[in-house]
């Protein structure tokens, strides 16, 4: 029987104590601790049996090592937690490492019925992302960003963008629930979000496909004059746990398609860096005989690395040097140039990654159509700015001299896309076309951390297939942990049973603990619920999530007790004219009240509290025909409203299997037809 040893020990203690009570009558004795002999592991046949098992299954020694590196016996928790974007599922995935077990899909931009998100809870958060009053109930999440203190993850907040509608969501890591969605008033889509500054002062959101600011109408013939790019600095109020749009601002940028951004740290703190493509200003139109975007936007050899002086941008905002677009503060391109906020440097074309090295002194850019990564130095950038070593481009932005700002180039392979770091002076870059991950050495202060010469490739590992982003443990912070790398592959082709023609994505776990060319593929994790982009990996010990809500009657949205929370012993139904307020509690295994009787045409306000205090004692409330399903975690209180516009008999029930009498946890909503109610 489980826990039998524990129980026996306790019974022994009980006996010792009760015998002790009698003994104590005559003499004083010290309390002895009962000794348990260490249990000896059962010999399961030794290595012969294991070797036979491996041979039977056709496993190589490397396979066995991979299994031993990743297997978690039941009850053993993972060391790292990965927060992965959920792609166009609109959610965020929480995955334990190294086991690669999916622990949670956090509902963010898309309604999710298990969590009740959009079915009675979260509606006001979702509405924050409405576009001009129109509900857009899906999202394309790309880049999660954990909150940072001193450039290191602090485990408190998570931000993520929605590329489709240019929105940012705020997730509280006490309960892993979305607290806020903000719609960018300047741009209709984004890509360069979410990234945070080293103390989470700002959440960065860079745009992608240029439109007139505020996405007003302008014909494509006016592209150069009317269309613009942007980057937004959302001010995060950590105390309130919300982005404050009133203290946020955007920078107007030329209509190059901005891609991804990263915040400077340590040596480069106070700067932010971004990529762009389509500096050709192509407007497509394949059907009109024009070059399609894919060709038109790839003509020049170089695009522009965006170098932004955040301190000066902040000063310009504080000095009121901004206009308003849709009510939102925007610092004009002219001000950005005049105030020395914005600089460019040529970068390899069609870039994706712009990644700041752990000490902040190097910025690594990878252009998908150039086999090199290009490493820029913040010191060189500052020097070039001081020397005014630049030429002006078409919009008047200073373009720093390439040779003056580049520290090194490393030929890593075909299709370099995104770079991460480890504590041993190695950088890792995904190679989309080669479908590999390259490990290469950083120079400068990192040279002494690895045996290889600086700026050389140390090794490569094959991945399956078409890797996009990669993530190493805390690999974009000031103190990367290394250990694990996850390759987020777009195609899985032959790696899994394919459930029809829609294939899962493939997250591949790679061991990077050893240096040089030693990198071992450990595990394939299929993702069958969306196409993730970037992920961040945090040490599990840094997260301090609640197991139950701190007090009964808790509102997860405000993170305090609701004034109108239904309390145990005070359950009731009150009528005020045509409004009926239900105060209901849920506990294993009943709702109270169980009969809710209203009239057709009533407006129903329903407050329900899960009064449980046990971990994992979640209840649901499913009301058919009224499109309601709640997830009520222990202590949670929710108030939802609906118009009782459908007469009839509706059985509501607990939709989370809670107890042996779970099926009995049900009740009836009786909506009396209006004519019957009138005749009474």
């Amino acid at each position: 029987m489980d826990g039998g040893l524990l129980e026996k020990e306790q019974i022994m203690q009980a006996r010792i104590l009760s015998v002790g009570l009698i003994v104590l009558m005559f003499s004083m004795v010290g309390c002895g601790r009962s000794e348990t002999s260490p249990t000896q592991a059962q010999n399961s046949g030794g290595s012969d049996a294991i070797n036979q098992l491996a041979a039977d299954r056709g496993l190589t020694p490397d396979d066995v090592r991979a299994a031993l590196m990743t297997y978690q016996p039941s009850g053993r928790l993972d060391d790292y937690i990965m927060f992965s974007s959920g792609g166009h599922s609109g959610q965020v995935f929480v995955i334990g490492m190294p086991s690669m077990r999916l622990l949670r899909s956090i509902a963010v931009f898309t309604p999710e019925s298990w969590q009740g998100w959009g079915y009675g809870v979260g509606d006001e958060v979702l509405a924050g992302g409405d576009v001009n009053g129109k509900a857009n109930r899906w999202g394309d999440t790309h880049h999660p960003a954990l909150s940072e203190t001193g450039g290191d993850y602090d485990g408190q907040w998570l931000f993520i963008n929605d590329k489709a509608n240019a929105r940012i969501a705020v997730i509280d890591l006490r309960d892993f629930e979305t607290k806020q969605i903000v719609k960018n008033p300047v741009a209709i889509n984004d890509h360069g979000g979410a990234m945070v500054t080293p103390n989470t002062e700002y959440v960065i959101e860079g745009g992608q496909y240029a439109t007139p600011l505020g996405w007003s109408y302008a014909p494509l013939e006016q592209y150069n004059q009317s269309y613009r790019g942007m980057v937004t600095l959302w001010k995060f109020d950590r105390k309130a746990g919300r982005i404050d749009p009133q203290r946020s601002f955007a920078l107007e940028l030329p209509p190059y398609w901005q891609d991804i951004f990263d915040a400077g740290k340590l040596a480069s703190e106070g700067w932010i860096f971004g990529n762009s493509f389509n500096t050709e200003l192509a407007t497509g139109g394949i059907e009109k005989g024009n070059a399609p975007f894919e060709a038109g936007a790839s003509q020049r050899d170089a695009d522009y690395l965006h170098i932004i002086n955040l301190k000066k941008a902040e000063q310009a905002y504080k000095d009121g040097k901004f206009d308003r677009v849709n009510g939102f503060a925007v610092i004009s391109l002219k001000t950005c140039i005049d105030e020395g906020i914005l600089f460019f440097a040529p970068e390899p074309k069609s870039p994706h990654g712009v990644d700041v090295a752990p000490k902040g002194e190097f910025i690594v850019v990878s252009g998908k159509l150039d086999p090199h990564v290009t490493i820029y130095s913040i010191d060189r950038i500052k020097q070039a700015i001081a020397d005014q070593n630049w030429e002006l481009e078409a919009y008047g932005v200073p373009v720093l001299d390439l040779d003056a700002v580049v520290e090194a180039r490393v030929e890593v392979g075909l299709g370099p896309l995104h770079t991460q770091f480890d504590p041993h002076g190695y950088a890792y870059t995904s190679l989309f076309l080669d479908t590999q991950v390259a490990r290469w050495t950083l120079g400068g202060a990192y040279s002494e951390l690895h045996p290889e010469p600086a700026w050389t490739v140390a090794g490569k590992v094959r991945v399956h297939y078409n890797v996009g982003h990669i993530a190493t443990a805390e690999g974009d912070t000031v103190s990367p942990d290394g250990k694990y790398l996850v390759s987020m592959n777009k195609w899985s082709v032959d790696r899994f049973f394919h459930p029809g023609p829609l294939f899962p994505q493939n997250f591949q776990l790679i061991d990077i603990t050893e240096g040089g060319d030693k990198m071992q593929l450990l595990y394939d994790m299929p993702i069958g619920v969306g196409e993730p982009h970037y992920a961040q990996i945090i040490e599990a010990a840094k997260l301090k999530p609640w197991a139950i809500y701190p007090e009964v009657g808790w509102d997860p949205h405000t993170q305090q007790v609701r004034a109108d929370a239904a309390k145990a012993g005070e359950e009731r139904i009150e009528r005020d004219g045509k409004t009926v307020h239900v105060y209901m509690t849920a506990v294993r295994s009943h709702f109270n009240p169980e009969h809710v009787e209203v009239n057709e045409g009533d407006h129903v306000v329903w407050s329900i509290t899960n009064v449980e205090r046990a971990e994992d004692a979640t209840h649901g409330l499913a009301i058919p025909a009224y499109n309601i399903n709640l997830s009520l975690e222990a202590g949670e209180a929710v108030t939802f409203e609906f118009d009782a516009d459908q007469p009839g008999t509706f059985a509501f029930y607990c939709s989370e299997f809670c107890s042996a009498l779970h099926l009995e946890m049900a009740g009836y909503l009786l909506v009396k037809p209006a004519e019957m109610a009138m005749s009474q």
């Binding site: 826990g3 306790q10 019974i11 104590l17 009570l21 205090r613 009995e664």
Partner: protein, 205 residues
Amino acid sequence: MHRGRYLLPTLLLTLAATLLLGSIFLPYWRMTLHAPQYPSGLQVQAYINRLEGDVHEIDGLNHYIGMRPLNEAATLERSLSGMMIAALALLTVGAVFIHSRWAMLLSLPAVLFPAGFLLDLYLWMAYFGHHLDPRAPLSSAIKPFTPPVIGQGNVGQFTTIAMPDVGLVLATVASAMILLGVWFHRRAYKPLFDQAFGQKVQSDE
């Protein structure tokens, strides 16, 4: 040596009274419940004036068998217990100053207190276990029972383990010290007492 003869009982009785007073702030008894779905168990600790631990959860589970909420037990005892223990301690200290055999009677309540606590607990457990709500969901599956006050019991998938806690141990140590103290007290003062009053008795004869 001669002073020690009188000091020892005073020390023992005063210390016993102090232990008794200290026990007010410590748990007297605890019960741990083990079940497969509660890997770290559930525990309730009984102080002389309150219950602590997973009372809410245990009450929630008990409603299935129709047991009353734990806090409905021993309300009178719990409301008086602080004053009562203070009084017992005072009586024990008082015994130091009474040099006759009445000192034994004064300290007797404190000596019996631990046994009284356990007896009261047992009676409440028996009452609760035999007054289950017949309309409870599992009323037909559970026969009336008395959960053990010390040791192991079983209800459904739960194994309960009850044992005295540190407060009761202190109170018991205090009992032992009082017995010893009174014995030394009598040994020290009986001769004096007999000398003072015994001669008088003799002279009366």
